[in-house]
Amino acid sequence: MTAAVQLDRVTVRFGDFTAVDGAKLDIAPGEFFSFLGPSGCGKTTLLRTISGFIEPSAGRVLIDGRDMRGIGPNVRPTALIFQNLALFPNMSVADNIAYGMRVRGVPRRKRAETVERLLDLIALPGQARKRIDELSGGQKQRVAIARALAVEPQVLLLDEPLSALDLKLRQHMRNELRAIQRRVGITFVYITHDQGEALAMSDRIAVMNRGVIEQVSDGRTLYNSPETAFVASFVGESNILAGKVASVDGAVASVDTPIGPLRGRNVRGLRPGSQALLFLRPELLVPSADGIAARVTDAAFEGTGTLLTLAAADGRPLTVLVSGAAARDIPPKGAEIRLAYKAEEALVLPPDAAGDA
């Protein structure tokens, strides 16, 4: 099966600044694919490269197997939903949705039918004659989606379309978007810096950092088996401890951290003596008879569990999420407790070259 979108070592430079560096991946037809990364990591740039507003400095973009070099955004089978939506304020809802069909010379009757059908799809029936500034944020969102879908693109590109909405509406629109995608069945390429959004909606996620794609996988793998320190720290919460690998025993390595030797899965096969970071998710740590010694400094009840803040032997803060049966027995503030975890659930990763995480 040919990929809906194929990035073949795509590099984008602005002057001598490299915004996207050698992006290489395939997006399958009908997939909900997300790019996740912090602000300024090159997500928008990559999306604009796919839609044709930016020509890659090196590499190729293929859509449905066709090389897109020299093909402008107005003829590519993609539709882009802008970060600020960019609806046309001087047109009605219906005219906005019909705009793409109008420039393609679709007959008026057919246009009206399509607009009708799309308004049903986005659950805004009967709002065709409204002006854009009479709509709420969520409604504008839907109109932008309908406008893009009206041109029947093979790939819909969405640039943080939910970032302007409030939390409640954002969560609602997540489900809505996912439902719309299932109904129309086309490929969605979604951009976000919100990991919750990416994890909740996507079939697969590409995590970007400084123009480089660090890992491409489904959300579960990303969370449980990050391959780089950046991915491990960006996706989900972690207690991060730096140290040197002391010994390697099969798949597990022991790291000399400031609070003692700790064991974790040696994902990247680090050798004894090399620098390493140990990642401990808050939910992996459980109070027990022995393990890491720490003193409880704060406890915050969060509904599904209780978030404990502790001070380790050297005073560094650790967070532990206690839920389920253990949550009935929260240690009081000031209590000296010990924390245990399963060695194969912690991760040992090399620090990033740039030294963050």
């Binding site: 507003f53 402008g72 107005n74 539709a79 600020n84 001087n90 793409g100 041109v151």
Partner: protein
Amino acid sequence: MHSSVGQVVIFALPAVVVAAFAILAIRDRRRAGPAAGPGFVATNGWPVAIFLIVAVGLWTVFMIVLPMLSMIDLSFRPRLPPPQWGSARDIYTLENYRYFLFGSTTSTASWNTTHLKAFGLTIWVSILITILDFVVCYPIAFYMAQVARPARLRLFMLMLIAPYWVNEILRAFAFRLLFASQGVINRALMGAGITDQPIDFIAADVALYSGLAYAYLLMMMFALYNAIETLDRNQIEAARDLGAPWWHIHLFIVLPHAKPGIASGATLVFMLTAGALAAPLVLGGPRTLWFTPIVYDRFYQAFNWQQGAAYALILLVACVVFVLLVLKIFKLRLGEIAK
């Protein structure tokens, strides 16, 4: 007695205006409730507020309202030597307007073709020049507002503005030199072998029309630039992404957005062109009759101020009609083009 009336007007009117403004402000406040945040007076103090009100009031009354009213009044008076102004013979009459239409203050037998033609030509050519200015300015304004990088933009601005540092009359003379029979253009044309005789650009009104078009180009340029500059570039890209060809984007995205700017640019250029005096005097061909020199002649050659006032008023009314027409065509309200 006459002078005392004048004194009363000069000293009493500002007070009346200030009072009127104050009453308006108080009524407005009663109706709308106190504006959010501290008011203008609270932030700036009474002295500043009073100064501003008096200054604006005086400006409006003495520079705009009074001259206007006296012009209208004058235009309906018969021609009299100044000592008889205000005397019993100074009655209201339509004779100045009659003269404009029929070339005589009494008879209506034949049309005043010279003046009517000049008036018609002035309005017609002003409309054409307004359109020409729009056509010339739109691409440049679009480039400056949406495409150019900041450094390039500054260069463009400078190149556009610098020529206007030269006085309007000097600029008109420069155009005359440019288009003269031994001017740069004619010599270039002959040098290139395109013509073998100098073309009389002045008589053909080419010089006049180019001079007029150039004179108020900046008005259109900045009106358009300001309007296009506020258009979100994403909208242009969204249209392109949806498959629109470039002309469609201009026609249905950029132009509708720039509508208020186009309207205000068009009305400015039209009014200034129709009322231009320097360019027609300097660049007008021997047979061309522009309307403003005729008005000028009423005042300073014929010493017929009453008729001059009537002629000026006719031009003004034409301009107002044009503005209303433009607003109607563009489906705009007056407030929108004054932004």
